[in-house]
């Protein structure tokens, strides 16, 4: 029994002066309309929300009520920045197990209602509070910055190469009406922006954004009955790593990404990702994260990620266009919304509805790569049409 995506929705990302439930409803109503369904048709609601910055400490029930799904779940899931993918997986699993035929996965996050220092203290707890943040004041940028210094020292990766990831992201985001940033930047803007955690500067970091996304999944049987033209979930890979960064073997990549990709590729019989996918969406919460993702997903060899962006291999017309929608860096990264927003963007591309950002499709196949924390969780999905 195959499972497909039959409807997607996504709110505009950015600072949004609406409540969490109102924001979620923007994505849900778009997804329902897209699938030509109403709430009564949906059997299970899965609500992904990290929620640690919010005043609603049990956001799933609040979101579920407002979206018209009271009585349909909700199942609340959390996997840090990979929460959206975990929500998709939960909906997928319920259909695959034959428990339901139609399920909705919702990802929503309000991040701008607390001040930046509080947000940094919460993000810095995305690992292990007791042994790391408590003593050393780790922040989310600091964790990736430490990977950047390791990568720079071992492979000669430069701050300029990292800046190129941000420039590409902003350029693409300008053509995406849902994106937080609508401003083109150049390498010097990145290099001259203030340091957040050396060597990462303001423009190396994804913004603090509010956002919501939703995807409706259905069984093959239901898809045939409705006559939908779905995006099929062809393969799923997942992995994770230690909560303590000091328990990792090295800091030049994310082992969870490598293991999740291996699992997804093996299940889909992918031998060479560059010859199998038309494009990819990867987890670029920071510029160094995208460079490490090229390597860990097998787009290039370990240590060559800097050259990969420098040579334009991840841009339109390159070996594999990456984050054509603007990425987390340009579109925004509202934690739980991110993984499902990736599915939204992949669906638009595979349906050839991506407008100015449309990639030429040959294989009608793409992947999403969604990381939680600093490789604390990782999900790799392969989609096809």
């Amino acid at each position: 029994m195959k499972v497909g995506i039959v409807g997607v929705g996504c709110s505009k990302f950015g600072q949004r002066d609406v409540t969490i439930q109102e924001l979620a409803f923007e994505a849900v109503s778009e997804a329902l309309k897209d699938a030509n369904l109403s709430q009564e048709d949906v059997e299970l609601s899965v609500v992904g929300c990290v929620g640690t910055r919010g005043y609603e400490l049990m956001p799933a029930v609040v979101v579920n009520e407002y979206c018209g799904f009271a009585g349909k779940g909700p199942l609340r899931v959390e996997a840090a920045c990979a929460t959206g993918s975990a929500a998709i997986y939960s909906a997928y699993s319920s259909i695959k197990a034959g428990i339901v035929d139609i399920a909705i996965a919702i990802g929503v996050e309000k991040m701008t209602e607390v001040d930046t220092a509080t947000s940094a203290a919460i993000g810095g707890r995305a690992g292990n509070y007791l042994w790391e943040h408590h003593f050393y004041g780790t922040t989310f940028p600091a964790y990736y910055a430490m990977h950047a210094t390791a990568h720079m020292a071992r492979f000669g990766t430069t701050e300029k190469q990292m800046a190129m990831v941000a420039v590409k992201a902003h350029r693409n985001a300008m053509k995406n009406s849902k994106a937080h940033f609508q401003k083109e930047i150049v390498v010097e803007d990145v290099l001259n922006s203030r340091i957040i955690a050396y060597p990462l500067k303001l423009y190396d970091c994804s913004p603090i954004s509010d956002g919501a996304s939703a995807a409706i999944l259905a069984s093959e049987k239901m898809i045939t009955e409705h006559g939908w033209d779905p995006i099929w979930i062809e393969s799923i890979g997942f992995s994770s790593d230690t909560s303590n960064m000091t328990m990792r073997e090295d800091f030049v990549g994310l082992k969870a990404t490598k293991l999740a990709a291996e699992m997804a590729y093996k299940r889909a019989k992918i031998e060479d990702p560059l010859k199998s996918f038309d494009f990819a969406t990867v987890h670029d919460c920071f510029t160094i994260a995208e460079i490490m993702a090229y390597e860990d997903l097998g787009f290039c060899r370990k240590g060559e990620g800097g050259k990969f962006i420098e040579n334009g291999e991840s841009d339109f017309g390159g070996k594999i266009p990456v984050n054509t929608f603007g990425g987390l860096k340009g579109k925004g990264h509202p934690l739980a919304a991110t993984g499902i927003a990736m599915v939204y963007e992949v669906t638009k591309q595979l349906r050839e509805e991506a407008g100015k950002l449309q990639v030429d499709l040959k294989h009608y196949k793409a992947l999403t790569h969604n990381v939680g924390g600093t490789g604390h969780f990782c999900w790799v999905f392969i989609f096809g049409r």
Binding site: A117, T118, A121, L130, T138, M146, T149, D250
Partner: protein, 130 residues
């Protein structure tokens, strides 16, 4: 229109009974890892080995090598008292240790560790060159 929520203050009482030797060790200038007879080593230290045995405490001594670092300029709440700080991870044999450094240490540098209170009065690990 924007309204404000009621304030909710969370400050936790954390039991460190099973790792008390580590916390007391910091105050005495010693840093401990734990090892198990099954061959596993743990840093941060833990009393329970995943194999089911109880671990033993071993002091971390000698030289370490810096594997990565950062300098945090955008500080989280709880660290308002600090100037920008350098977080370093250094490898000491079979474990990696996180600490702060007041010296400009870089990847590949040899370091030794010591303990001292920070500006908020918390005992922690620090690195110095050589």
């Amino acid at each position: 229109m924007i309204i404000e929520s009621r304030e909710l203050r969370l400050k936790h009482r954390i039991p460190v009974v099973k790792t008390e030797k580590f916390w007391k060790g910091l105050e005495g200038g010693r840093v401990y890892k734990t090892i198990c007879k099954c061959g596993r080593s743990y840093y941060p230290p833990r009393a329970d080995c995943i194999c089911g045995n109880q671990t033993e405490w071993v002091e971390i001594t000698g030289k370490g090598v810096v594997e990565c670092f950062t300098v945090v300029y955008s500080m989280p709440s709880g660290y308002e008292w600090s100037k920008p700080y350098r977080i370093v991870v250094a490898r000491f044999g079979d474990v990696r240790v996180m600490g702060w450094s007041e010296e400009d240490v870089f990847v590949g540098d040899e370091v030794s560790l010591y303990t001292a209170k920070d500006g908020s009065g918390i005992w922690k690990i620090w690195f110095r060159k050589g």
